[in-house]
């Protein structure tokens, strides 16, 4: 039962709350209790701050042999996304085709279902990333409700 383990991190998992060292200003996501630069001096002093809402794909892969529990999502795109300040975060890229993903692409965090503990267990939600802008297809009003 891992519901509790993630519950205590909802602020970060649901809203991407990061931590910031008040001495040197470095921001960490996933959040850290100790600043990597200031170390012991920062213990107990780290502040919670929101992450920026825009990032760029730094690298990505299309996963064909999925992690356990993700079989139904295969193939899925995993990426490392870089935010302002050099903060890099791992997550899936969704709401687009795998072939639309490229290094340098702008993405924003979105809220999705990550995994569940079986049919009777807790559902874990968290962040994934989606394209910042939509490539809009032509609006097709008449008749053709078919593929393509």
């Amino acid at each position: 039962m891992t519901g509790v383990r993630f519950w205590r991190e909802f602020g970060s998992r649901y809203r991407m709350l990061a931590t910031r060292c008040p001495s040197c200003g470095l921001v960490y996501f996933p959040p850290r209790e100790v600043c990597r630069r200031c170390r012991r001096a920062s213990l107990g002093k780290m502040e919670r701050v929101p992450m920026p809402r825009a990032g760029k794909v730094m690298s990505f892969t299309i996963v064909h042999q999925g992690q356990k529990g993700f079989e139904e999502q295969v193939p899925y795109v995993l990426a490392i996304v870089e935010f302002e300040g050099g903060i890099t975060v791992m997550g899936q890229v969704v709401d687009c085709d795998a072939c639309d993903v490229s290094i340098g692409m702008e993405v924003k965090p979105v809220f999705r279902r990550i995994r569940e503990e079986g049919e009777a267990g807790v559902i874990h939600y968290g962040y994934k990333f989606a394209p910042m802008c939509y490539p809009v297809c032509a609006i097709d009003d008449e008749g053709a409700g078919g593929p393509g």
Binding site: E72, D95, I123, Y125, C133, Y134, P147, G148
Partner: protein, 351 residues
């Protein structure tokens, strides 16, 4: 006190399946089905989407363009008939994701396709009574139809969230609301059943039409208006035909019902159907325009709203990427096998 909509947000999943593709699998004439139902395609949620995630997407859009702090939202209600948990509210996850916790009230609603508008009314009452500054009312569904059943062609997924409040920020005033509610067994699902059951043709005249049209007429009487006083009408839309007929019965020409009718392209999003239809109207509405909204939920009941767009709408940000039409146009068609996989309709070996 002007009570109404401060902001709204929407979400429609990207994938689509066409009526013809579903009909192909079940040996039906797809073109005839599409034309008979008035539904060409419907939205399909991805494997990682559900009522919670869609509600959060819609609520985040509503909050983002509202200028209201999440901690000022005193209530969150999510109406759906496909909440991910039978017990554990969607509303608390949404409230947490919004950053509105812990000083608020929250609960989930169920009333077939009108659970979303029931949430509207509750939030209106809480705001008007001064119990909360603002309330978030969400209608969202990832409804399912049994394989091969008529409902499979239309049951789809979507969400719309409305931040209800008062004061200068109100972009669309809700001047009147009234409802019409009876015990009518037109469509139901017992606990533990995967798919709903319905009364076939009984779902028409004694159910949908009786409630929508009576409620609509009652609202016109209450407001002292006729169809001519409104620029738009948004009615519940289980298919592409019923709302056009009901609109006509209320005296509305098809043009006034056009913007609010999304089912032909994205299917029936159940609790999100009327909220999304209204959102599409609001996306292009100008100050002074008046909208009649009548929802319908099986079981049965209708909620009607008399809405007038305010001057504040001219200052409300309606960017291209946030429009209903943009989200509807961003689509990818899938085949029935992929649809069945996404919707969990395939019997998986549990290892």
């Amino acid at each position: 006190m002007d009570v109404g909509i401060l902001s709204y947000g929407i979400w429609v999943p990207r994938h689509r399946i066409s009526t013809e593709e579903i009909a192909r699998v079940w040996g039906k004439d797809g073109k005839a089905m599409a034309s008979g139902l008035g539904v060409r395609s419907k939205s399909v949620p991805a494997v990682d989407e559900d009522v919670v995630t869609m509600s959060v997407e819609a609520a985040e859009m509503a909050m983002r363009r509202s200028g209201v702090a999440p901690t000022d939202v005193g209530a969150v209600y999510v109406g759906s008939e496909s909440h991910p948990y039978a017990v554990k509210p969607t509303a608390t996850v949404v409230a947490e994701a919004m950053g509105a916790t812990p000083d608020l009230t929250a609960a989930d609603y169920e009333f077939a396709c009108k659970a979303g508008t029931a949430a509207f009314q509750t939030c209106m009452g809480l705001v008007r009574s001064g119990m909360v500054k603002a309330g978030m009312a969400i209608g969202a569904d990832t409804s399912q139809g049994a394989p091969g059943d008529a409902l499979e062609y239309s049951a789809s997924a979507g969400a719309a969230a409305y931040l209800i409040g008062s004061g200068e920020g109100v972009i669309a005033r809700i001047d009147h609301t009234l409802s019409y509610t009876t015990d009518t067994p037109d469509f139901w699902r017992r606990e533990g059943q995967t798919y709903p059951s319905h009364g076939g043709r009984f779902t028409g005249v004694p159910a949908y039409f009786k409630h929508v049209v009576t409620c609509g007429k009652n609202m016109l009487a209450r407001a002292g208006t006729t169809a001519e006083d409104y620029d738009h009408v948004v009615l519940h839309q289980p298919n592409g035909k019923f709302p056009v007929r009901a609109a006509k019965m209320l005296g509305f020409p098809p043009e006034k019902a056009a913007r609010g009718l999304l089912t032909p392209r994205i299917g029936n999003t159940y609790s999100a159907a009327v909220p999304l239809g209204l959102a599409n109207v609001l996306d292009a509405a100008r100050p002074g325009e008046r909208i009649l909204v009548v929802s319908y939920g099986s079981g049965a009941g209708s909620d009607a709203f008399d809405i007038t767009v305010t001057d504040a709408m001219a200052r409300y940000p309606r960017h291209q990427d946030d429009l209903v039409e943009t989200r509807i146009a961003y689509r990818k068609f899938i085949d029935y096998a992929t649809y069945a996989k996404f919707r969990g309709k395939i019997q998986m070996g549990r290892g």
